[in-house]
């Protein structure tokens, strides 16, 4: 017997032994069909749960879209995503409501500040619904600050740095970090001195950033708290004169009036 024959005969023996019909065939078929039915039922049950949820979601989205909520929500989200080149001001509720915000000094009826600079505003866009839009052109606005600047505080940079697209996003990230830091110092730690330095640092990074108006206003509050009235008046004057539209206009007028009265 050759080895090849042995292998062939062994294969034939295995073929013969395993080729016989099996008694379990019908049982296995029943298992297969039963398991398939169970899988299909599970799938139908899952669809019965998912479809109504999806329908509710789609319906809610359609209603929200028709009622204008979707656009408002999208604008709110987009402000955090889009770069600082967009001409939109952050909403007033962009940051949580400050805890222990610096109190405004008590005052009588608001007395508008007498403008010491030309009231011609170079701001080209007006505010809508109390939201702040970025002042433009930045150079003109900053030059107005420079006229009333005292030597006691750091000047805000006049130049908008020219940056490449690659650096712009890094700059935005740093500016956002600087804003967060200043916000914490101002509203959480309530350290006016350090907060002032932090607001200045942010404005140096992003003098026309999306939170620049808010930073300038909070900076003015720090100056008030530190007793630097002249600088505070200078800082509040643009707001009082509507350089940022109606953003903080009333508050600036009231604060400025109170400061003028206390002189």
């Amino acid at each position: 017997m050759t080895e090849r024959d042995v292998l062939q005969r062994a294969a034939a023996a295995l073929r013969e032994r395993t080729g016989k019909p099996c008694d379990d065939a019908e049982l296995t078929k029943a298992r297969v069909l039963s398991d398939l039915q169970r899988v299909q039922r599970r799938r139908r049950r899952a669809w019965a749960i998912v479809l109504p949820i999806a329908a509710v979601f789609v319906g809610a989205a359609a209603w929200a879209s028709s009622a204008g909520y979707t656009e408002r929500w999208w604008n709110h989200v987009a402000k955090y995503v889009v770069s600082s080149n967009r001409k939109e001001a952050p909403p007033e509720d962009a940051w949580p409501a400050p805890r222990g915000a610096l109190p405004a000094p008590s005052m009588s009826a608001a007395i508008p500040l007498v403008p010491s600079v030309s009231s011609e505003s170079t701001v080209e866009e007006s505010l809508l619904d109390g939201s702040v839009r970025q002042a433009e052109p930045t150079q003109n606005l900053n030059s107005r600050h420079t006229e009333h600047r005292s030597g006691k505080h750091r000047s805000v940079s006049n130049a908008t740095p020219k940056e490449s697209d690659a650096d712009a996003s890094t700059q935005d990230g740093r500016a956002d970090d600087a804003y967060r830091k200043a916000h914490d110092l101002h509203f959480v730690e309530q350290d006016a001195s350090r907060a002032l330095a932090a607001w200045d640092a942010y404005l140096q990074l992003a003098p026309s950033g999306r939170f620049a108006p808010e930073a300038r206003y909070n900076r003015a509050l720090c100056l008030i708290r530190l007793g630097r009235r002249a600088e505070a008046l200078d800082a509040l004057r643009p707001f009082a004169h509507g350089a940022y539209g109606t953003y903080r206009m009333k508050e600036a007028q009231e604060l400025g009036g109170a400061l003028e009265t206390e002189r």
Binding site: M1, E3, Q8, R9, L14, R15, R17, T18, T28, Q40
Partner: protein
């Protein structure tokens, strides 16, 4: 009265014609026609793709014997082979989406079994190895036992133990080509490996099996 049915399609007639008074022509009442849903193989494939249980049942009836035989030859354990058959037909509705029609449906179903067989083979190998340790099987004395004196069953057992020493790919190639006597082209369609690879695996499998069977004392 007569009835005939096709397993995968056609019309199943039950009962004979009634002599309805329709121009004196015998007519099978429509209610006695039991249409089968898949008159053609393409329709059966469509039904399988939809996950129709009836289609799976028809496919099982047509091909379970071939799948079971392959599973038993590959795994060497009837219970595990039955589980593999079950798993093969359970996964058929999802696997059939990859069916291109370049091979027969039976070949395709066996390829599903071959793909799923790996862990069954390993488990049955481990089981056989454990049982071999427990059983007191005399070591071959090297004098060689003439094959003619062995029963065919024992020869099959020896071959199954020898197959345990092969890698799964060579084992599959041997079972398909030598035990099931398929062509290398069919084996290539089932395993998804090129024909040349199948022939190479077969060559190495046979070489190894000869060595093992010689060691077992079979000449």
């Amino acid at each position: 009265m007569h009835s005939h049915e096709q397993s995968s399609g056609g019309w199943a007639l039950q009962g004979g014609p009634d002599m309805l008074p329709l121009l004196g022509v015998p007519v099978w009442p429509l209610a006695r026609f039991k249409p089968v849903l898949y008159p053609r193989a393409d329709d059966l494939v469509s039904g399988l793709q939809r996950g129709d249980r009836h289609a799976v049942g028809l496919a099982y009836d047509a091909h379970h014997a071939a799948v079971r035989a392959f599973a038993r030859r590959l795994i060497g354990d009837d219970a595990a082979a039955e589980d593999l058959v079950h798993e093969t037909f359970i996964t058929l509705p999802s696997a059939i989406r990859g069916f291109r029609g370049d091979s027969g449906l039976r070949t395709f179903i066996i390829s599903i079994a071959a793909n799923h067989a790996r862990h069954y083979v390993r488990a049955s190998m481990r089981r056989r190895a454990a049982m071999a340790k427990l059983a007191e099987r005399p070591e071959p004395d090297g004098t060689g036992t003439p094959e003619a004196e062995m029963g065919r069953a024992e020869l099959a057992d020896i071959l199954m133990r020898a197959l345990d020493e092969l890698p799964i790919d060579q084992r599959t190639a041997f079972v398909l080509c030598e035990v099931e006597e398929r062509t290398s082209q069919e084996a290539s369609q089932i395993t998804g490996a090129p024909e040349a690879t199948i022939r190479t695996r077969l060559f190495h499998a046979k070489k190894k099996l000869r060595e093992v069977m010689q060691r077992e004392g079979v000449r």
